[in-house]
Symmetry: C2
Subunit: 341 residues, 2 copies
DNA sequence: ACAGCTTGCCAAAGCGCTTTGGAATAGCGG
DNA sequence: CCGCTATTCCAAAGCGCTTTGGCAAGCTGT
């Protein structure tokens, strides 16, 4: 059933039907009701492509996920983010398109997305240090928002980020105040901006406690469970092992925990673990006494908020950029305790 | 830059440009080369919507994710599936659309997706017992493939599934052969078809070993880490606790493991854990000696294969349905051992 | 040299919608 | 009862592409 057929069926012009359905005022309420009823009855929904062609809009938001050494799409964080964003899109009648791309073809994909008119705007994920996508997207003139920030970028853009530096500063302080002196940092890939900031917060906290930053106690990598396990294992076998771990993701932290278990070390008693917690649906850390001491910030909420930011931007592309910084919340859990050395 | 402009610029008709770009034979190779060069130079890509309108195709695949009590999109399995599917789509020039929907509005969303012509086909996730979406999609005439199966459905459809029943049968046999008699089943939601089949496999294995099926040792629910932890905790506190756990997801299994740790029970020695393993990128279980004894099957590979099945179906909707059943592979890990009772 | 092909190109129609610019009807005061 | 403004509707153009049907050269074989 298309517009022409519906028009013939009702004996009303296509124009009027279109207007009735799109809420224009120049159609009587009686006619509008009749049109809507008929549309429902016949299951008529305007053809997306025709509508898009006529309006010049796609009503679709793009998410470009770079894979390669980092497999962002397979990161559980992505699912929670999309769940949040999807909710907002659905509420505003937007579709959500996900594109997978190798890092080499990134620029090409963005250009084509624009040239093809496939999306009205997009969300940029996992910004890197001095990310080249920022000037590219600005040049393309496609509305976009960034989940995170990119240090070194000199263009202005809209973003929502967690204050990673202050979060890691705060949690490092928590550990030093418990008497820990050897604190390991199990970080995300430091080509990614958030990981750089987290490291800075950690280093700041160590410095403030007059503690040295030991390269042997710092790693960066993709935040899988096994990555946490492997690195914690190596560090625990050092002649001078850490008494506390600061971890960038709860999934990693599970791996660190496993490394402790292997050695019969009890988290929070023998060795402490603190982590960043994105409040992943499948890894809740919110019991009366949370398993992990953590800095929490919901990535799902971030998804919802960023989607809204983007829609606002699409509706008014000339509005000043929005820059939002969320503070992560400290949550005391069972995985940290005083240093016993 | 659109077709008309490019045509004017080159002094060649729109027809010829379109044909040159789409690989039609009735254009000389010299002209084709000239057109392609100009298209690249000016960053011309045909407008998706116009192309779609003209061809009647969207070159887009839909994934409808039902949320509600079960939050499938936030399930890390989803990310791995999409990564696999996305690879195939990209290779064939398809876009990937993800739609989030509450279970109540499901039928409506599918109908609208069809009516709007938004997608050329779709992947159905998480089929339930006697799933009503099956007759709906068949009636709509939208090409689709199913990740899993739906018992009780009497229409024919294309699917790819893991043989969940045989997998759980086999792993149950493994546990009984190790002398376990009290084996707990930490299952997924049994409204979902795969969970039903897994239970059947488990029950079959128990029966074959002349072991009773104890309702107190069976749970179903969304397979979060905490769900595994909570239920294992309860069961371990029973007067007659299980000596082995059979778990439906490696994330759950991590929770079960945590419950053991809490009680200073060593997995594989004091209590055994076996699990289904979807080979999630962020939860590798593939060391020289895997952490968990498991039935493995890559959900990412399933995504890639299903995407291909769907594209084949779109290209020839009248072809007979494809029904593929993968056998999960048994992997001996460190988490199972003889019953010591 | 000419009919009969093939080759290489093009003009125009059409995909299903929105929107512009009118036109017809109704309502109103004078 | 007439002219004027609202109200309600419509025909047709246009969005950017693909595709149909056809035309003009350039070959071939006789």
């Amino acid at each position: 059933m298309n517009l022409k057929e519906l028009s013939k069926h009702l004996g009303i012009s296509q124009t009027t039907i279109s207007r009735a359905l799109n809420g224009y005022p120049e159609v009587s309420e009686a006619t509008r009701a009749r049109v809507i009823a008929a549309a429902n009855e016949h299951g008529y929904s305007p053809n997306t492509r025709a509508q898009g062609l006529a309006t010049g809009l796609s009503r679709c938001i793009g998410h470009v996920i770079s894979v390669g050494d980092s497999g962002e799409m397979v990161n559980p964080i992505f699912g929670d983010f999309m769940a949040g964003a999807g909710e907002t899109y659905a509420a505003h009648g937007y579709d959500m398109m996900v594109t997978r791309v190798g890092q080499r073809d990134e620029a090409d994909i963005y250009r084509r997305l624009k040239a093809r008119g496939a999306v009205d705007g997009l969300v940029m994920h996992a910004p890197r240090f001095n990310d080249t996508r920022l000037p590219l997207l600005t040049e393309l003139g496609l509305p976009f928002v960034v989940h995170g920030r990119s240090s070194g970028a000199n263009t202005s853009y809209s973003y929502l980020d967690v204050n990673n530096r202050s979060a890691f500063h705060e949690v490092t302080r928590h550990l030093t105040s418990l008497g820990h002196r050897r604190i390991a940092l199990i970080n995300g890939q430091e080509q990614l901006d958030f990981a750089i900031r987290r490291r800075q917060g950690y280093e700041q906290g160590m410095e403030e406690a007059d503690l040295p930053v030991d390269a042997a106690l710092m790693t960066q990598g993709e935040m899988t469970e096994d990555y946490g396990y492997q690195n914690a294992t190596v560090m625990l076998d050092l002649p001078d092992p850490p008494s506390a771990f600061l971890v960038s993701s709860i999934i990693c932290a599970a791996g660190v925990r496993r490394a402790l278990d292997d050695r019969n070390l009890r988290p929070g008693e023998d060795v402490s673990i603190a982590t960043f917690d994105d409040c992943l649906s499948y890894f809740r850390n919110s019991a009366a006494r949370p398993v992990f001491t953590a800095m929490q910030s919901s990535v799902r909420a971030a998804g919802a908020a960023l989607a809204q930011m983007l829609i606002d931007r699409i509706n008014d592309p000339t509005a000043p950029h929005t820059q939002t910084l969320w503070e992560a919340e400290f949550v005391a859990g069972a995985s940290t305790g005083p240093n016993k050395d």
